[in-house]
Amino acid sequence: MALRAGIFRPSQFNFLAIGLGFIFQTAFLSIRGHTLGRCPLTNLFEVFIFLAWSVALIYMLVGPAYRLSLMGAFSAPLVVLLQGFALIVPIDVRHPVRLHANPWLEFHASISLVAYGTFALACIAGVMYLVQERQLKTHQLRSIFYHLPPLTDLFAAITRLLWWGFLLYTVGLVSGFFVGHPLPYVQVICALGVWLLYGAILQGRHLRRLAPKHVAVLCIIGFSAALTLLWGITFTAQMPSTP
């Protein structure tokens, strides 16, 4: 609403508000983890909360470092959306059987979700880039134009986020092969598809075959694909037997 009204002002308060929310998220995940005796990724509800936590974590690491304070205005709604969905929709279903702790499986799931959080931030930076680019192209500069970071800074942030996300996702993917039981074939293929998509984006960027605008668009497409995959993994019947 503030953005629409043209009076948005990035401030320390916004960052503190997200920080406070992050503390509560961490507390919730910690309590849930203690109750379950393992990483709280046993159902779709926990996955969404963990993903929202990852977005907040990466934002707090990346936002101040790259002076992308306005990113909070884009990240916060995503966190609210993820958590709101998790709280409203009845997806917090207890697993009928107490799941045993499996360090590799928990590592695989948690690191993959942090990678998704990084891709979410890259997606948000991509949206910011497209908003800024569109205004510059059409010569229609709205209030938000003066708050968004410069195009080159945004693109640098997108590139770094993509590299970090890709690295984390690769670690998550590789660790998936050590969980002790074979993962569903479709899941592995889809996960490899997402990995290849992000790898192709980075390769295109590295070889200067992709214009920044296209990289920004692909960040949005890539995250949509990753989110769909995550949904598929957790929503299907595999969820009760895997994190």
Partner: protein, 356 residues
């Protein structure tokens, strides 16, 4: 004690009239002879105003006579449209002036500096006493609050500053940007100067007459490039300022395309201030190229002004709040703020009770 303001501004008088009453260094002393306990003269290119505090009524004619003291004729010969604000209206007017709401370009910040300077001058000469001290200190606070809590100063409103602002929105720091000035005209020189003042180090100038290019580089730095070599420069540069007198476009998508081949991840910002235009408008459709001609720069400046005007209501609300508080506080006397030692002691009184 009555606070009042007498003056003329761009709203009420043309520049010729304003210069006749522009005042002189000794004017504030003369004003005190006219019967003011405190007086302050604010002169900018858009206004000539006297702020005063007095127990008795000081007529507008007396003020006008003081301001026009060096004129041979009676000031009324010019029928100057002086305005006069008293009490709360005077407080409100000063707050609006200091905040840039009464300026020709809404939201400009230069007037605040000029107001501060006028206050310092009056303070040094003893013209500003405890009432004007409090009034102006509050005005500075209000201006600061208006600036930080609204978007009244947002955006650039002149062609040159819009170009520089856009460059910073594309590239961030301009220190690493390479700039080519094509056609060493007056407007391109001004724009290049503005870019250099914001940190541009690598400036290249190309002109049909190489001597003129050399002349410009001597003035603002950089190096001159032969006019035949400028297309090659487009492979390297980040910002192109063009203002040649060419009848046909110098840059078209067909000619620019090959130059952009190896710079897909680097934006190119083109400022075309030539009439007729040097760059084909279709160039703006190319990936990573941001083309602004004189009309689009003007349009951005107007958008900024419109944005500022949208903020006027919010600024007025802040001013109204401060005005009420200030009038309340001053009606309770001067006890809350101790007047500076060098200020003459003025008898306390209730502004609201006596004059407001």
């Amino acid at each position: 004690m009555n606070l009042f303001c007498v003056g003329l501004s761009h709203h009420t008088a043309n520049v010729e009239t304003r210069e006749r009453f522009a005042g002189h260094a000794e004017t504030d002393c003369i004003l005190r002879k006219a019967g003011c306990a405190e007086a302050l003269l604010l002169t900018t290119c858009n206004r000539v105003e006297v702020y005063g505090a007095s127990d008795k009524h000081v007529s507008t004619d007396d003020i006008a006579r003081c301001l026009a003291s060096k004129l041979e004729h009676d000031p009324h010969d010019y029928a100057p449209p002086f305005y006069r604000y008293e009490g709360a209206k005077c407080v409100q007017h000063l707050f609006r002036v200091a905040s840039g709401l009464d300026s020709m370009v809404v939201g400009e910040t230069e007037v605040l500096g000029q107001t501060k300077k006028a206050y310092e001058t009056a303070r040094a000469s003893g013209g500003a006493g405890p009432y004007l001290h409090r009034l102006f200190q509050r005005a500075f606070r209000v201006a600061k609050q208006v600036r930080s809590h609204t978007e009244i100063t947002r955006g650039s409103v002149s062609v040159g500053s819009v170009a520089v602002d856009l460059a910073q929105r594309i590239f961030g720091q301009l220190g690493n940007c390479k700039v080519l000035v094509l056609g060493a005209g007056e407007t391109s020189e001004r724009t290049a100067r503005a870019l250099v003042s914001r940190g541009v180090n690598d400036l290249r100038v190309s002109n049909r007459t190489l001597d003129r290019a050399h002349e410009l580089t001597r003035l603002i730095g950089g190096r001159a490039i032969s006019f035949d070599d400028w297309p090659e420069q487009c492979r390297e540069i980040d910002i192109l300022i063009t203002s040649t007198s060419s009848e046909a476009p110098l840059l078209t998508p067909a000619s620019l395309g090959p130059m952009l081949r190896n710079r897909i991840d680097r934006p190119l910002f083109i400022i075309d201030i030539a009439v007729p235009r040097d760059v084909d408008p279709d160039v703006n459709e190319m990936e990573g190229v941001y083309l602004y001609d004189i009309d689009s720069l003007q349009s951005v400046a107007e958008q900024s002004l419109a944005l500022r005007r949208q903020q006027v209501a919010a600024a007025e609300a802040i001013i109204a709040e401060h005005m009420t508080d200030f009038v309340d506080s001053i009606s309770r006397g001067l006890n809350r703020d101790t007047p500076p030692a060098e200020h003459p002691v003025v008898e306390e009184g209730s502004l609201r009770a006596s004059e407001l």
